[in-house]
Symmetry: C2
Subunit: 332 residues, 2 copies
């Protein structure tokens, strides 16, 4: 059965006080540059620019204590922010962590969470360089990721897709939504579904994938966070191109089909609307870079469509409107 | 009477949806680099390092709707983060904003807040470059500030105070706590107290003060955020020195004395424990840089104290233990 649940025992934040809580968090995620008014970072290369992004995780809305662990949540929080850094073609170098938590929360929740952050950023040689802890009604976590963009090529932006390029992707699509549905079903889950549970609890990207894609000549990139169709549509709209996805290339695999059968959900819904896989998706002329596969094409005549007054930003699957196309909405 | 209260009318977050809410926020605080997976920043000078810091503001704990306005709160949120950047001797260049808010919140609260951010960062030529909005039980705001540290001098760190230096400060001390006490008193407040109310609602630092101090040869710096004695003690402990503050230089001025009389509080408590003025405080050999004044001395023989086994990190006022020495504690 999956690993879930938060620690409920041990000393609380109120019992330990702010100083000791911070000491334990920084012990769980050590850093040479943490502990002053602000962290000083030394970007990697002489030519480098700085990349920054932030995400907030609210208990009950973005995570539930019964469906994950603090350690897994810490890892996921890193991935969802680092995916945004990698999606610029940049290298993640640092994380800042702010959180509010009820005063009766066992400190182990926070140290486990920080331990998960440390575990995940280690694969990037990044550091937790600063943060803030405060009391609040419920657990709210804010992560800011900072990256370094070296070299002379432009960043991989949402408006960088060009007519005639291939659409590429790196990693699972639909696994996170499937894993969540499996956990929410409350059913006894056979071990074979572990990759889906992991896809939900700790989606991962191979560190450096965005850098590899940029070096290989990709011109646009984003990640599958709000839903495949929604995110690819944003890319298409911002680039003023139309995109057609290959049905076969994104079709649910056997694991997704089996999970769909178990819980009675069409797995295409997970693929097209799921999000939260944080799989990097971009566009490139020619072959897919190492680690990426082709999942579609940017229409050759997107610019003509535009000049003819037709709407650019249309996303199809094998030329047809996608069967599912909703995405994450923060205020619904 | 002071300007307080949050908008209670107009379309809510739920009614408008995430996209429109983000559109209105970015309209209130426009930026050329916002709107992609992550923001790309171009640090100012060839030699520059990046400085980063973050702070979280929780409704009911760090602010109350009846004691400020969203616009003033936005300005204060910038100052408290930029003060940490300036306290490294760096120049603030960017802000990221994450927030969770109840879905029935009028969007004007957020656009006013973003407008306040835009107003304050304008004085620094900085930009709001990214963020995240999400639903949550209560209003929780997380700000990350990014700065640029140019040149060859080291940053102004907490461990940089040296024996024989002067302690310098820039701006009000105790005004924020006094302003809060005045507002909490519920009394009719004469206009003369406006500087104290402003000190609480919108403490400010003169942009570039940290850079000036670093150029002039300051070696350590922090800001008055948790309380004068607590923050100076942190500086003294981390630098392993003892610090004596000049009673006359920090004594409550006539305004603080009058406010203390009105609400029946010893104004020394505001000066010594108050915090949240975000006044920059540091140490330097020789004269105070432009805009700073001398408020104390680093003991000449701090190192001897240490080698004699005596405890370094002691802060006194005219050689005596301070009358008040508590500070902010997040979990109390």
């Amino acid at each position: 059965m999956p690993n879930t649940g938060f620690p409920t025992q041990g000393p609380t934040l109120r019992e330990l006080g702010e100083k000791e809580v911070i000491r334990r968090i920084t012990h769980a995620a050590p850093s040479a540059v943490n502990g002053d008014d602000a962290a000083v970072l030394y970007p990697a290369s002489p030519n480098s620019r700085v990349v920054a992004t932030t995400d907030m995780l609210v208990e009950g809305r973005h995570f539930r204590r019964d469906l994950t662990t603090p350690r897994l949540l810490g890892r996921r929080a890193v991935t969802q922010n680092f995916a945004d850094v990698e999606a610029m073609g940049a290298r993640p170098i640092a994380v800042l962590l702010s959180l509010s938590a009820p005063m009766d929360l066992p400190v182990d929740v926070l140290t486990e969470f920080a331990g998960g952050i440390a575990e995940e950023i280690d694969g990037y040689a990044a550091e937790l360089v600063g943060g803030d802890v405060t009391a609040g009604q419920n657990l709210v976590i804010s992560i800011t990721a900072i990256g370094s963009l070296g070299g002379n090529r432009p960043p991989l932006t949402l408006d960088g897709a060009r007519a005639g390029q291939q659409v590429i992707a790196h990693g699972a699509i639909g696994y996170s939504a499937a894993g969540l549905a499996l956990l929410e079903s409350g059913l006894e889950l056979p071990d074979e579904f572990a990759p889906l549970i992991e896809g939900f609890q700790t989606p991962t990207i191979r560190p450096g994938s965005g850098v590899v894609a940029r070096s290989a000549g990709a011109s646009s990139m984003t990640d599958n966070s709000d839903g495949l169709i929604v995110d690819i549509s944003t890319l298409a709209e911002r680039s003023r191109v139309n995109i057609d996805l290959d049905k076969e290339a994104i079709a649910p695999d056997e694991l997704l089909l089996a999970a769909g059968e178990l819980v009675g959900i069409d797995p295409w819904k997970w693929v097209l609307e799921g999000g939260e896989d944080h799989t990097l998706m971009g566009t490139i002329h020619g072959e897919a870079p190492v680690g990426f596969r082709v999942i579609g094409q940017v229409a050759k005549d997107s610019k003509d469509h535009k000049s003819n007054g037709e709407r650019a930003g249309v996303v199809t699957v094998d030329g047809q409107p996608p069967a599912f196309r909703q995405g994450w909405e923060s205020f619904a």
